[in-house]
């Protein structure tokens, strides 16, 4: 009855899992579950993706059925030498950093304030969340309404504070305005996620810090902030993916102006495609944008990975 541990694992090793050949018990089913969704997704994404690549090397004719005339690298050369385009990239980066940065700072700030509120936190949070469910087109139009120099509420407020310029009329203020509209809509998302992060920091860790003698700011700086940094990173990832993509607000407010001050790459792309019908060039811009957003997402995902957060 007594088996003593004398068997060499190497000798006893069976011929190898492959030879026995029953499937891993939890393999096929997952595959089957994923199939319909992934096939549809592939159809909706891979086909357009290859079409985009083909278009970026062509001039696209529309009338009488779509045809592609190969033009080699012309679109790409133009993409790389187009000075206006580079300005747009620069603006995009500034816009991206400003919106996402402000949203993070304000979102964290609001979350911290909310976290200290004990009673009524849920109602406050609910009200603060409202903007993120609004359609961006409506946000843009509403922004235009509020900043209209004739009857806009905010314009009126600014005027009574002594500001004489016109909000959407000069490059800097228009840029600031569209940034703020985006910030208005999406700060709540960051606040929501951050608040959840804050609530997930165990009470005992805060208590440990208190017992260790840390004053409030140190507790935040050294305990709370690092503890929620992962969550913040996730928030950042989610937000940046859309920040690069969405352009509805600018489209309906300034449409890129004045003086191209708000002409970020998505606007230029849209304009190239649907105002100038230069689909070839648009495809090149689109691919570059895709590469850019994937680069950003990869960066964040890698950061998350090194913290062991992705599954």
């Amino acid at each position: 009855m007594t088996h003593v541990a004398d068997s060499s694992p190497v000798l006893r090793r069976p011929a190898g899992p492959e030879s026995l050949a029953p499937r891993e018990p939890r393999y096929g089913f997952e595959g089957r579950m994923m199939t319909p969704g992934l096939i549809l997704l592939a159809a909706l994404s891979i086909v357009p993706f290859f079409a985009l690549i083909a278009m970026s090397f062509s001039r696209v004719r529309l009338l009488g059925g779509v045809r592609l005339d190969a033009v080699g690298l012309a679109n790409w050369v133009r993409f790389l030498t187009d000075a206006d385009m580079w300005m747009s990239w620069l603006r995009t980066v500034v816009y991206f950093v400003l919106t996402v940065g402000l949203e993070m700072v304000l979102g964290v700030g609001i979350a911290l304030c909310l976290y200290r509120v004990l009673r009524g936190r849920n109602i406050l949070l609910s009200l603060l969340l409202l903007p993120m469910f609004a359609a961006p087109v409506i946000v843009g139009l509403l922004g235009r309404y509020l900043t209209d120099s004739t009857f806009g509420l905010y314009a009126w407020v600014l005027r009574s504070l002594g500001y004489t310029g016109d909000i959407l009329g000069s490059p800097t203020s228009a840029f600031a305005a569209v940034v703020l509209m985006d910030v208005w809509e999406w700060t709540p998302l960051i606040a929501l996620i951050t608040l959840a992060g804050l609530s997930s920091v165990p009470q005992s860790v805060r208590e440990a810090a208190a017992v260790d003698g840390a004053p409030a700011w140190m507790t935040f700086r050294y305990i709370i902030f690092p503890a929620i940094s992962n969550v913040l990173l996730v928030a950042l990832l989610i937000r940046s993916m859309d920040a690069i993509r969405y352009f509805d607000i600018i489209w309906v407010t300034t449409n890129g102006g004045p003086a191209d001050a708000t002409k970020i790459v998505p606007i230029r792309l849209y304009e190239t495609a649907f105002r100038f019908f230069d689909f070839g060039y648009a495809a090149a811009i689109g691919l570059a944008m895709l590469a850019f957003s994937i680069f950003i997402a990869r960066t964040f995902v890698r950061l998350l990975d090194t913290r062991g957060l992705t599954r």
Partner: protein, 373 residues
């Protein structure tokens, strides 16, 4: 190092009626290791957290050393605390975790490093100083939590069930280490647990709480041998003391055929109370198994049907049912007895148990308090 004094310390959680801790009076001397035990919800953690400043004191005072700390925030109390789940800072290395309190008090870097290293050496953590808590095993985490407390060199250590997240084997090891460490450092320590063995082995004194009320404070052995009331008697010791209600007939306590002679002091005390009943307790190791036929009519014995025999190798425990069908009073209660592991009775056997002379403990059936023997 300082003495700690609870004076009528009370805590009533908002929204509740009954105090979670009710006028606690406790005097812990300098360098003492005091263990707080009690069933779940009895207010152990609350008492500890009041001392730490994590819970408001709603009445009474708490002093550490000579200082009244009742309303001071935690950081001004010079205490260190080890939490049940360790509450390590997840994003800091072990070294940073241990050094955080020193950094807060702006100790110079070398000083800090030195103290962290010393503590790490003491706790055998030197090779893990650069790891994150989640890369450590449970036992190592526990040691880091200890380390975080001892680098502080505080006036008081507070520990709230610091071992309960460890598995049985590790718990045994670690409790010895902690006790040894505390003796070595000589820091006044308040230690919360609900583990029997920890309570018995670690503390200089043990305080037993129930429903927020202090039941008894004494050395472990005295608690075991002279519990102040039925609650303490049943709570301390594993397996628990056997308890049963006896009638008082003349000078004897009687249950079925079992009769036990009572001393004059006992009878005196009973008379004062006016009760004709008492609770009699005896520990599992305080009974002997005698052959059924052997001494049928003898005093201090009773018949038991064996329902389960647990053989642990080193020991064997008999779980039995009082077998006197004529007196069903005891029928529901299981009697536990420690028996010779080399010759345990078998399941289903009928045996006679005898309570060893002088090993019974008597309690008032009315107040639950111990009666003089």
């Amino acid at each position: 190092m300082a003495k700690v004094l609870y004076e009528e310390a009370t805590r009533v959680y908002p929204g509740t009626e009954r105090p979670a801790v009710d006028a606690l009076d406790l005097d812990i001397s300098d360098g003492e290791f005091l263990v707080l035990v009690g069933p779940s919800g009895c207010g152990k953690s609350t008492s500890l957290r009041m001392l730490a400043g994590l819970e408001r004191v709603d009445g009474g005072r708490i002093t550490i050393g000579e200082r009244d700390v009742t309303h001071l925030p935690p950081r001004d109390r010079d205490i260190a605390m080890v939490f049940q789940n360790y509450a390590l800072y997840p994003h800091m290395s072990v070294a940073d975790n241990m050094g955080f309190a020193l950094r807060v008090m702006k100790a110079p870097k070398q000083e800090r490093d030195r103290r962290v290293r010393d503590a790490a050496r003491l706790l055998d953590l030197e090779e893990y100083l650069d790891r994150r808590p989640k890369e450590l095993s449970g036992g190592q985490r526990q040691r880091v939590a200890m380390g975080r407390a001892i680098v502080r060199e505080p006036q008081v250590f507070l520990m709230d069930e610091p071992l309960s997240n460890l598995d049985a084997k590790l718990r045994v090891q670690t409790r010895t280490q902690i006790a040894a460490l505390q003796r070595r450092l000589g820091v006044t320590t308040v230690y919360v647990t609900h583990d029997q063995v920890e309570a018995m082995t670690m503390g200089d004194r043990v305080a037993v709480l129930k429903d927020g009320l202090l039941q008894q404070v004494d050395t472990p052995l005295r608690l075991y041998q002279h519990p102040a009331n039925v609650f303490v008697a049943g709570f301390i010791g594993s397996p628990s003391m056997n308890l049963a209600e006896f009638r008082v007939e003349g000078e004897e306590a009687v249950l079925g055929g079992t009769r036990i002679r009572l001393s004059r002091e006992t009878l005196e005390a009973l008379r004062k109370e006016g009760g004709d009943r008492l609770v009699l307790g005896f520990r599992p190791e305080a009974v002997d198994v005698i052959a059924e036929t052997d001494a049928d009519a003898e005093h201090r014995t009773f018949p038991v049907t064996v329902t389960v025999v647990e053989e642990l190798g080193s020991d064997a425990f008999l779980y039995g049912q009082y077998a006197d069908a004529a007196h069903p009073a005891l029928l529901d209660q299981t009697v536990i007895a420690r028996v010779d592991p080399n010759a345990p009775p078998a399941k289903g056997d009928r045996v006679r148990l005898r309570i060893a002379q002088g090993k019974e403990r008597l309690f008032s059936a009315v107040t639950g308090r111990r009666l003089p023997p």
